[in-house]
Assembly symmetry: C2
Homo-oligomer: 716 residues x 2
């Protein structure tokens, strides 16, 4: 077993000795010079590869000061304000950070801004309003009294988001950095020239990590530096007057401010995207890939490799759009990861890339939740172990190539227990790579997760970061998971490639699907799929959209329906007895009791099996539908009990209950990954206590003992 | 004080002695011959007035047998069924009682029936389906596989609903009675002739109680005699092929089967009515009033008085449509009543009528909930006292003229405690009538309850019959209550007549208002009303309808909003500290904790006062909006604590907190009614324990002691 390599260490000036110590202990092969730190000549001369970060949009603040109109832009919506009479004054920046944003008066406000009557939805004629740059007020005349108005206005973002985040969270001081927009041709050329110079200035760098290309995921901050809106994959920050004009040329129609402001929902990724928003995403992606390609070409010409940081400023790159993304020609993807789905998000990107996960905790005094980590009162070992438990589950299903850590080494080296734990974790990570040979583990069931976005937002959705629920559980189950969209069913009927479809999300969201469920082709094809023997697992409010007398559109498939006020006079709400015995409940110690659940779900099929109720509310049920099967869960939390129940639910829905007699670990606190090609298998303990389990491997039984969190490899 | 009169007693054959005993004990002045019982000649000769029931639609079963095509009709929707291929067979009567309904094949099924694809909403062409009367199957061809279909079909109701109810609930035996439709001209004439003869045959009857005119509120029963659908004010039973054709002539357009089936929701009164359904109601009402008028004329001509039973078969009479209802010229209204809002429903009907409430328990072995009442294990005294507690609260606000009981005397007379309790209750009822002189009690605040129906469905809505919640509480509070509709605001701006508007109901229902909240005029006028000093109290999901970026349309007024999946990426959800001290909480012993509440409500105004939370969910809040005020409750249950809190909420919202220093009873288990014209006031104890309270009467204070449930009268 190799105890070296696949590990990236952040360097720190003046700590060469510690770097060398850790390089040995952790098997470091790449040294990273982070934002703000530089590698010493001593280190760069060692036998490490060097990985350096570059952020072109922030690189040249002098250029930014000289070209403030090349700063990035976005549309904001003023707070809603009621007119008491015919005249109304709206302080547009009220509730927004004036450190972060400045209204754009360079471009004609009457062309780009909109004043909207939110009571009627009507646009106020441009002659009825004006903006006073001195007072920051939009004055609206001819208002209807007691109607509510907003202003959609274009701003320059004068404080770049990551710079702002570091100031606010990590108490950085000094100049507020600005972020430039490469869509400005002059700035575009300047960035490429900077990159050429940067490559000259960094002769020892082997890996150029772009942090990232241009546009940040939006974080809109209020006057008190608190986050108002955040969307990990929103395109809010990709807007500019120039881009709007170019879009019009390319697409033949013009987008309105309202297309971005979207009633104040800002095209939240949790909402079903409009066709116009989808056009915009494609438009931005085309530009971003062109820009990325030119950057990567320069890196390659200089004999280096290019990494996309699949985190800050990744918007527009769309790594899951395989063909388009390939054009950019990146060599590697790096992502921070705290849990299983963050691992899967980078691991599942199609194509041939080196993938690295930066693990947590960051070597910072406080963690991402603002609690002490390396500071007094923190427990970085426990944190790291909790995250690793979630991450390991996912890695054994689909692994990355490398791991790393970030932050300040001087904080980490003070904690010997932490250094030892990371050594253990790193060795275990390498054992997964080496033993599995990165081959595909056994996955007896193919699962499609259906939502409005499909593959392009793979592993993205979940309640309750960092842990989350359904998707987190699935990231580590021994099943093949793909994300599909309603369009995938409608245009290509992809269902034949799957055993089970999962639809998990609350009504009105993109994760459930909202009005997309009224589509006759989608409905028909899913019914056909299940009727012919497929499985359907619905969680929270699957297929929820009132249409033609049904709220859960697939209530017939599920055997349950939800009362939402429309059928208060219908009395035929069945209330069958709860079934205690069912394949999917066999490892449950207690009644399924989700912490949050959808109320008012009731059976409509007298033969539906009710597996758990809370009060009168069905919280788990199973239903036979023609030759197929469906499961409903009104809620879901990550836990040993529930993860096992979901695993069994997927097998049962697929009519593949026999999996548990073929390849299985009996103890739900343990999980199993089998690699037929590599002829190895791995069983591991997710719990903090000793566990004993009966393994079934290719129908043969054996007993295994595991210490807390222990994993064991065996030959197949 | 009078101890006689205002009481109607049901007679029973062979129990003349007991009747006389009770007549004396309870002060009976009217004797009723119920359905199925006849008064003996001895009784009819006594000094009682006699009240007899007549039900014209069931009176002549021979006529019904000879004219089966004059039976009442309705549209049913078959259960939803998926097509597996292009051919589909639907057993239309599956899930429906064949005792109650028979498909109508007298009229052209292709003209009146519809087959609907519920996946697309499309109507299947008539040439693509056919009905086989022998098999009861509709066969549909050219189906789209895996789409779901239903049949909307016209039936004859061959078992009249009340007859059926009595068979099922009270184990009646014998012939299933049919109900005739007076819209058939021949039957109409026959009914009038029968009525003439009936009047001749009942020379001793003073009061003719119509039970009622023609159309029952719908109870749709399944194959197991269980209720599938019930709607206390639905027009489902008013349909017939003839009526549909006449409607077309009168309104110039034709209603479809789907207009009645309504996706299976059957125009549930809990849902917002369509314009077409409203037209139908007016059309039926016009006919019913004409028929009623002709009946009442005959009664009057015979020197008797006419009573409308405001219960069974009341559909189409619409007593709250004052002008139209006056035309029918009834003398009296009788209703059963178990709680306060059932009292108010009859008491608040505009116009000059004698109003009688039939109280509960019915002298039956089991009560309306199917639990023992006069049978072994029942406690009719407790039942009666519980109901009376609810009823008395309402009667002191707006009283009826008479009370009565129903059922079998022989059951009642065996229970001396019950006889004594009714004597007490009856005397207390008469004390209310006599002391108040039926004058208006002091009501310092005028409250409008806003829903989609307005006045025509006054006091109708509530969860959880028999007790219910918000509306039940309001039925007994010392405030003036009127029900208004969105149209009342839009067409006549009635708001100036009120101090407070209440909107209480779940989203998507007629009680909240659903899409009616998108109306700009309604929104503007309510905002204006509150901004100028009015009050708004929202309960459950007030003003809930997603439109232009708001879910609670009046979130700005309320100071709170609800997250329903649309703003998952908005982080600006305020979470202010809970305020313990507030005018409306002053008599609360504990934190407001509704049994059922709307989750995910949060503050949007930093100055909103959060009065109670459950977990992170706001369940009670108060907000200042310009010169006015708003209160939000996420749920509500009837209780001394909550009733008092709602009373205070109404005062606070109206900016009339001073009421508690002017006329008030300090102890929340007691309530107070003051009659300025009659110069009396009444204080009463709603609890089963002794209570002491400080009364404030016209700013002067006094102490009062009350025994359990006791009421005391004082001179003003």
């Amino acid at each position: 077993m190799l105890n070296k390599g696949r590990f990236t260490l952040p360097a720190q000036e003046g700590m060469d000795k510690e770097v060398l110590m850790l390089a040995n202990k952790w098997g470091v092969d790449i040294i990273r010079d982070s934002d703000g730190t530089k590698l010493s000549p001593e280190l760069t001369k060692m036998d490490f590869e060097v990985y350096s970060t570059v952020c072109l949009i922030r690189q040249d603040q002098d250029w930014a000061k000289k070209h403030p109109q090349h700063c990035q832009q976005k549309f904001l919506m003023s707070d809603r304000k009621m007119a008491e009479g015919s005249l109304l004054e709206i302080e547009i920046m009220k509730g927004y950070s004036k450190e972060q944003f400045m209204p754009d008066t360079v471009h004609d406000v009457k062309k780009y801004w909109e004043v909207i009557n939110r009571t009627t939805g009507g646009i106020v004629p441009v002659e009825d309003w004006g903006y006073n740059e001195q007072t920051g007020l939009v004055t609206v005349k001819n208002c209807t009294g007691f109607h509510v108005y907003t202003v959609n206005f274009l701003v320059y973002q004068i404080w770049e988001t990551t710079s702002m985040y570091n100031y606010i969270t990590n108490n950085w001081t000094g100049e507020h950095q600005m972020g430039l927009d490469p869509r400005q041709p002059e700035t575009y050329d300047h960035m490429l020239k900077m990159l050429d110079q940067w490559l000259v200035d960094h002769p020892d760098t082997n890996w150029v990590r772009f942090t990232s290309m241009a546009y940040q995921f939006p974080i809109i901050t209020d006057e008190n530096r608190k986050t108002r809106f955040q969307d990990w994959s929103g395109y809010t920050d990709t807007v500019s007057a120039l881009a709007l004009d170019e879009f019009e040329k390319e697409y033949g129609y013009r987008l309105r401010a309202e297309d971005f402001v979207d009633r104040g929902y800002y095209n939240s990724t949790s909402n079903v995207p409009s066709d116009r928003y989808r056009d915009w995403i494609a438009f931005v992606n085309k530009f971003l890939i062109q820009f990325s390609k030119e950057c990567v070409e320069r890196v390659h010409k200089a004999g280096r490799k290019a990494i996309l940081f699949f985190c800050d400023h990744w918007i527009g790159t769309e790594p899951y759009w395989e063909e388009k993304f390939k054009e950019a020609n990146f060599d590697a993807l790096v992502t921070p990861a705290i849990n299983g789905r963050e691992i899967r998000r980078v691991a599942d990107v199609p194509g041939d890339y080196t993938r690295e996960a930066r693990l947590y905790p960051y070597f910072f005094p406080v963690n991402l939740q603002g609690e002490p980590s390396f500071a007094e009162g923190g427990d970085p070992v426990k944190e790291c172990r909790d995250y690793w438990m979630w991450i390991r589950r996912a890695m054994v299903r689909k692994c990355v190539d490398r791991i790393g850590f970030g932050g300040y080494l001087d904080l980490a080296v003070e904690n010997q227990e932490f250094l030892d734990y990371v050594e253990h974790l790193t060795n275990e990570f390498r054992s997964i790579v080496d033993n599995s040979q990165l081959t595909k583990p056994l996955a007896p069931v193919k699962v499609a997760i259906l939502n409005a976005w499909g593959q392009m937002r793979s592993w993205l959705y979940d309640f309750g970061w960092p842990l989350g629920n359904v998707i987190e559980t699935l990231s580590g189950l021994p099943v093949d998971v793909k994300f599909i969209s309603f369009d995938d069913i409608k245009n290509a009927n992809v269902l034949s490639g799957f055993d089970v479809v999962i639809n998990a999300g609350k009504s009105r969201t993109a994760w459930s699907g909202d009005n997309l469920w009224a589509d006759k082709t989608v409905q028909g094809r899913i019914r056909e799929f299940v009727a012919n023997g497929g499985g359907f697992v619905g969680i929270f409010e699957p297929s929820a959209y009132e249409h033609q007398g049904a709220y859960f559109q697939l209530a017939d498939v599920l055997g349950v329906q939800r009362e939402v006020g429309l059928t208060l006079n219908n009395r035929a709400k069945l209330n069958p007895e709860t079934t205690k015995k069912h394949f999917i409940l066999e490892d449950m110690e207690e009644t399924f009791q989700p912490s949050v659940f959808i109320e008012d779900v009731y059976a409509i099929n007298p033969e539906a099996q009710i597996l758990a109720k809370q009060g009168k509310h069905v919280v788990a049920s199973a239903n036979q539908f023609a030759k197929g099967r469906a499961i409903y869960f009104a809620g879901f939390d990550f836990s040993a009990n529930n993860n096992r129940m979901l695993e069994r639910a997927v097998y049962w829905a697929a009519s593949k209950e026999n999996v548990v007699n073929e390849n299985f670990t009996s103890n739900k606190h343990t999980e199993l990954a089998i690699y037929p090609e590599a002829k190895k298998y791995f069983v591991f303990n997710n719990s903090g206590s000793d566990q004993k389990t009966t393994l079934v491997i290719n129908k043969g039984k054996s007993e295994v003992q595991l210490k807390p969190f222990e994993g064991k490899w065996f030959d197949l």
